[in-house]
Subunit: 587 residues, 2 copies
């Protein structure tokens, strides 16, 4: 059915919404695709819902193609299964919790691992039933602390989540690979500019995972890539560990007065002034910075943690968070310092840190702090530092942690060259869950020998509503959205200009003919609206092919404009249907 | 794509689920369409989700056909708009309320009047923008006190809700009629056996409404119909008011001792024994029964209410509830009697009731209690009744109320004959909202004269997930479900029997050919499953056409069975595709 703008529930806006930070948010609201209902919660207007359903359909087709079967779970879920896997607690304030009239505990599902596991347990019992992949396209909830960026990160959103069930880790590999291949097809069809990166699996549990990131400066995920093809989410980057350094001829550690040097900068200045080196000046990289944080565990308890990193690197909060999950990271406050009087703020050193040491505070260091490396670090007294402190000789940390920032130029862990940093939007995530959920919920089947085997699971997500925004991030210009053809709300945006009724008659007929031939049409049939406003709206709305019926009609011509390139061609009205069909089908 | 039962996520069950009361619940679970996740909350399995989506598509097509535009609102909604219309309170415990991490109040939408009103207010401002009809097919929540009957009455369910916006009540009429016509098409296509009845509008507000009820003994709605074509939900039945009775020659009221007569039955017995009448014996219809209830108002306050009905009729709780909405009805307990010592339990009479009377308790009577009618009723003292008490002479109630039960044989209010009672499932509801929501939320547009006019709204619902169950209620037999063709999960259920590989080869080829020719196939390709089990499963699952490839194949024949009639025909395999195409397309 032709969508006529004279009656379409659409009002384009000239002003960006005040709360909009990213371009997709601005354009989707201005072009009348979505409308905010509450923070992080959006309504889909007619054009927007069409795009959303097209994205859903692409995802559905590619999931069906790998034999995944569509089901549909409720969003309102009982607490018990999430209690069994501890996610009721682990999710913390990100989970919307609901009480029913009988004070029963429910939640709004953020993902459905538990429910799928229980459903399969409910119906299946033999290795002959496997492999199995189930999926749903469903509304999810996550109570984000700072919902932002419109539908890029909402609190209610549409996700495709699927789950694979296999008899063994080897068999799982095929399910994983099938999903990976399907995801490539999906994101190709969505017209996204994306990369596949190694990733941490986060609160999902499990061991191996990859993310599909749409390249976008507005993305919340930072990833790295090397010239040799390495790519990873920054949380997943593993620091290459240098070989140990011989330290037989290293001088003994010695404590020096370093008054007023609570920062790395002041310390390095002091070292170069008072202890100048012959070969090269002291730099931040020679110092070991010991940072204190508090971990908040899911059960509410707090635990202090000391992290030692080379002084030229900051702690990357996201990398640290990924390492300590499900605990969260809180600042180590003044009260905490008072509770640990051995810690000399600004001059903290390994002398008191570590579980075997005076403070009893767990002490993890950057993987670069290998045995034999020599450091300047705090001497645990205000105004004093220790020099020539050798790791492995003078102190032994409790372990290592990947918490230091990753910097452009760092070596890729696989030796494929220096890393480059980029930003992306997480569009898909595939990961091996292993047996975390099947063990917690008792999903076992009988194997060929009649023995009970715990099922190996995989979990796979696509951000369906987010994809609509990511596509806009990837595909727009100054004037508005430029939809890839497969997800455009219409194939053709037909604009009738002027006041001549003959123009509207011809355009109306063309619109009907196009629809009959399978080309969907958004028809701007508004009277009394200037051509300028109509052209502006057509650029903003972003249908890839714009057809103008106007003054040229006197000569039997209409104009066809490519929204992306701006290229215009005049063609005879009589050939318009055939021409447009070929344009639509060709792309 | 052919659905193969060897890999389909489906396990039919021989036993009814223990909590199942109605046949659709039993069959949908046993045939593997849905599975319970929590009380009143269901998951859709692959076959069930296919049926659900087919129902959705029928609803979508018919809504599109009347020019309604599809949008999609969130399910998680902010409190404020529902506060403005008072529904935040009025919905009481039926509403799922949610707090977010910032202690903000949200709800899970039961219907979306407020959100649609605000959206239209947001974008539209002129009479030229109207009429407008918007709809969504969306997940809704209602915290039912007794979720029962599987997906017939769930706590999470799928509904199509639409809303019309018109400049005037006259213009609204066309929107209402268009929806009514679309609903007739929808329920016809769904193959439902349904009636359209006059209805109360309930908590929605507004004045005129009709319900579409699927006839089913398991239905929760009772409706009435007359030979002359009157049909109404029992809540909406208006009692024909008899003319006043002259009472000039009526004897004076007199109080009599009636010891041990706290019930109507004992009272009537006593009257016939002690005060026998010449013309006819006393019956329950001669007595006026005064029933006390407590109303609980949305703000939590309680108010006593006395209702006087002829002693031969019970109070119908649903009719009473519909009358007092948004208040709810609670029992008048012993504590309440203690708080009102004037009320003599079992012997309550109009002597103390009514706002102008001693008790100050509001007193409403059945519409049959017209002036001049003569009653035996309580004398407000234990063991005593008053006789010859004349309405309008001896007592004046505060008004009337439609709270007495409707009985088969009662006259239709329009004079179209005696009423018959039947039960149905509410499948659709269309109603005039008037200006309740547009006034509360300030939805006004400029009319032709530049004057602000409050918009007239209509609200229209279809129970989409409920329809799946209602169809089963209407269409099943002892063996299982019998799907109407338009909503069946497949066009053909193809069964290969025996162990002969040639049979499976021929059946597999037939399945592929059918799919290529546009006929969808559920193919039972399971090995090692007996023909008896396969036939039983095919009857249970309910695809309207069953094709058996088995022993007949040796003679080049396959069997085609009509699920509904049981009729079987043998046809040559070579003609099967053509034959089945014609069967599928013809129906």
């Amino acid at each position: 059915m032709v969508m006529r703008m004279s009656t379409l529930f659409l009002r384009t806006l000239r002003e960006d919404p005040v709360d909009a930070e990213v371009v997709s948010h601005k354009l989707l609201v201005r072009a009348g695709y979505v409308r905010r209902a509450a923070p992080g919660i959006y309504s889909w207007l007619p054009l927007g819902y069409r795009v959303l359903r097209k994205v859903e359909q692409i995802v559905r087709e590619e999931m069906d193609a790998i034999g995944a079967q569509e089901v549909h779970f409720p969003a309102l879920l009982p607490r018990e299964p999430y209690e069994a896997t501890n996610r009721w607690t682990e999710y913390g304030p990100n989970l919307f919790r609901v009480k029913d009239r009988k004070e029963g505990d429910y939640l709004l599902g953020p993902t459905h691992e538990e429910m799928f596991t229980l459903l399969v347990k409910d119906l299946y019992s033999s290795y002959k039933d496997l492999p199995l992949s189930l999926y749903q396209i469903q509304t999810k909830y996550r109570d984000e602390q700072r919902p932002r960026a419109g539908i890029l990160r909402g609190r209610e959103f549409v996700m495709k989540d699927s789950y694979s069930f296999d008899i063994s880790d080897e068999a799982f590999k095929a399910s994983y690979d099938a999903h990976r291949a399907a995801y490539i097809k999906i994101f190709d069809r969505l017209g996204l500019d994306y990369v596949i990166v190694a990733a941490m699996s986060g609160a999902m549990g499990g061991s191996a995972s990859e993310e599909f990131l749409a390249n976008a400066a507005s993305g919340e995920d930072t990833y790295v890539r090397s010239p040799g093809g390495y790519a990873a989410n920054v949380e997943a980057v593993v620091t290459p560990v240098p070989p140990p350094v011989p330290y037989d001829d290293a001088p003994e550690a010695h404590v020096e007065d370093t008054p007023d040097t609570p920062t790395i900068e002041t310390l390095v200045g002091h070292l170069n002034e008072r202890f100048p080196r012959v070969d090269r000046p002291w730099s931040a990289a020679d110092t070991l910075k010991n940072v204190l944080v508090m971990l908040r565990h899911p059960d509410g308890t707090r635990e202090p943690l000391a992290i030692g990193v080379p002084g030229d690197r900051e702690i990357d909060e996201k990398r640290l968070t990924a390492q300590v999950e499900p605990a969260t990271v809180e600042p180590f406050g003044d009260d905490d310092f008072r509770a640990h009087p051995l810690l000399a703020k600004g001059y903290i050193g390994p002398g008191v840190l570590g579980e075997k040491n005076a403070s009893g505070i767990r002490f993890l260091v950057d993987p670069r702090v290998v045995d034999g490396t020599r450091w300047v670090t705090g001497a645990d007294q205000a105004g004093r530092h220790v020099l020539d402190l050798v790791a492995g000789r003078d102190f032994t940390p409790d372990g290592t942690i990947e918490a230091a920032e990753v910097r452009a130029g760092d070596p890729a862990p696989d030796g494929s060259g220096p890393l480059e940093l980029a930003r992306g939007i997480e569009m898909g995530h595939i990961f091996q869950l292993g047996r975390k959920y099947s063990e917690a919920l008792g999903l076992q089947v009988l194997d060929e020998n009649g023995k009970l085997v715990t099922v190996t699971m995989g979990s796979y997500g696509v951000g369906v509503s987010r994809a609509v925004a990511a596509i806009v991030e990837n595909s727009h210009d100054e004037q508005g959205i430029v939809w890839p053809r497969e997800v455009s709300p219409a194939d053709v945006h037909l604009v009738a200009t002027g006041k001549d009724e003959a123009v509207f008659a011809a355009a109306g007929e063309l619109a009907d003919e196009l629809e009959r031939s399978g080309v969907t049409v958004l028809y701007d049939d508004r009277r009394g609206v200037s051509p300028g406003v109509k052209f502006k709206d057509s650029e903003l709305v972003g249908v890839p092919t714009i057809v103008v019926v106007g003054r040229g009609l006197a000569d039997g011509l209409v104009e066809v404009k490519d929204r992306r390139t701006g290229e215009r061609t005049e063609i005879p009205l009589a050939e318009a249907v055939g021409h447009l069909r070929s344009v639509v089908l060709r792309s």
